[in-house]
């Protein structure tokens, strides 16, 4: 799993029947400091996320287990909202706390 920020929404009416009603969002992955890291992905959402929310995303085959129909070709699902996360510097330089919502 990794952290990400919701940056957009995807509308797709022509889809596999098992995916009907699942919400699709665009997520920008974040690194351990909360900075933008890597390429955006499209993920299903089961926790009613909205634009700007910091979330954690489950990727891989396991991600479909969170959906109503687990037998769907989904490889990323938003499974939780992040209120806060901590990141401690390795050299003891002091950790920092980031809040999920800005």
């Amino acid at each position: 799993m990794y952290l990400g920020r919701v940056i957009g929404r995807v509308v797709a009416t022509q889809r596999l029947p098992g995916l009907l009603g699942e919400k699709l969002l665009i997520v920008q992955p974040l690194d351990e400091k909360g900075e933008t890291a890597g390429e955006s992905v499209v993920a299903c959402d089961v926790v009613d996320s909205g634009l700007g929310d910091v979330v954690h995303v489950c990727d891989g085959r396991e991600s479909s287990m969170a959906l109503r129909d687990p037998f769907v070709p989904v490889d990323a699902t938003i499974v939780g909202h992040v209120e806060e996360f901590e990141h401690a510097e390795p050299a003891g330089a002091g950790g920092e706390t980031r809040t999920g919502r800005e």
Binding site: G8, R9, Q14, R15, L16, Q28, E39, A43, D75
Partner: protein, 108 residues
């Protein structure tokens, strides 16, 4: 999952019988601003996407979780055709023919 554009069809007459009934398409990956990334995949089409369609595809073992690809050597599958998407409440892409509905998803 990623957004991609169907840019070609794969024709192969010699292939494993397990994938003989599947349609394979060449998909150019796109970023959230509708710009091509320097990546493409060959994906099994489970939804009937056409040339030029913008689609969603998944990769890895998830791609086998459809009735068409179950138990078959498939690691990428197209499962939806995109109507539109928006980033930061700005419409980035809308499929041709949907404009006349006069409504963008950002207005929901």
């Amino acid at each position: 999952m990623f957004i991609g554009k169907v840019v070609g069809t794969v024709v192969s007459s010699i292939k494993d019988p397990k994938v003989a009934a599947l349609k394979f398409q060449v998909v150019q990956e796109l970023d959230e601003r509708n710009r091509p990334r320097n990546k493409y995949v060959v994906a099994a089409d489970t939804i009937g996407a056409g040339q030029g369609d913008l689609v969603l595809f998944s990769q890895g073992s998830s791609a086998r979780q459809t009735t068409l690809t179950d138990g078959r050597p498939i690691d990428a599958a197209i499962f939806a055709v995109i109507d539109s998407w928006d980033v930061n409440d700005e419409l980035v892409y809308q499929k041709e023919g949907l404009e006349r509905l006069g409504r963008s998803p950002a207005e929901d």
